[in-house]
Amino acid sequence: MLASKNMLQSLSEEHSENYKDSNNDCDFGKVLEFCASGENDKCDRAILCSDGKKRVLSFEH
């Protein structure tokens, strides 16, 4: 017979609604702030757009 320990365990466990819970991850805003803080990127941020003009398309953080 096929190995089936995991399948049988899943079937025998009490039904849980855990799949609905958010995981306990850290705050994304904090992560973004942490990864970008202290950097002064002075590169040209203009991007070529489909009308042939270059524009800065940022929120300027």
């Binding site: 609905k20 994304f28 953080h61």
Partner: protein
Amino acid sequence: MRNYRPSETYKRLYDYIIEDLLIQICNSDMGYCVRFDADSEPIPYIIGEKFEDYKNKALYNMSGERLDRHKLASCICGAVIEAKPLVNVKGRKIKKNANEILALAVGLNVIKFFMIYDLLKDKEDSYCREARTYLKEHFDMQFPSLNDNICDTQEYRKNMENALFWSHHMCEMLKKECFHFDIWAYAKLFYHLELYNRPFISEAYHAFKEQEKSA
């Protein structure tokens, strides 16, 4: 047009990840530029609105209010695919799945930022800044190589880009059944790619420490 107001978090996500990648692509002289239509909202807002839609879809099925990193990566990946920010410069040919390639890179960079945060959040400040810059610039998220493949004839990365392309692009063009972007399935793929990349980010961090020692 809805009354969409981007959150501070989305503004950072756009400025630090999406815009950075768009600049690199459009400055690479490969014939890419960003879609611009004077009658519609600018592309950062279009992506942001779609990101909100995806997040709301995901949160609707959850009891909490915070999406974890893999669901966030999946939501922004789906949003970029739908927004299709990349188009060709007049007269130039570009890859059909360019937006899916960008979308995957955006999602993976979300994961990479979290991995950098996990690794460095408790480190001393000045050292942390150097390490963070080093990892952002030198550590590129990896995919299983062709040698790791089981029965595929092309690389994992290409398979994933194509899967994203076929899930929600060809349906429009060919009027075929849409497989829709599956937030949960792609969140799980981002989860596995984070696991796969743990040793690689450790290696990159080790290389940084060695470089600091010899400086």
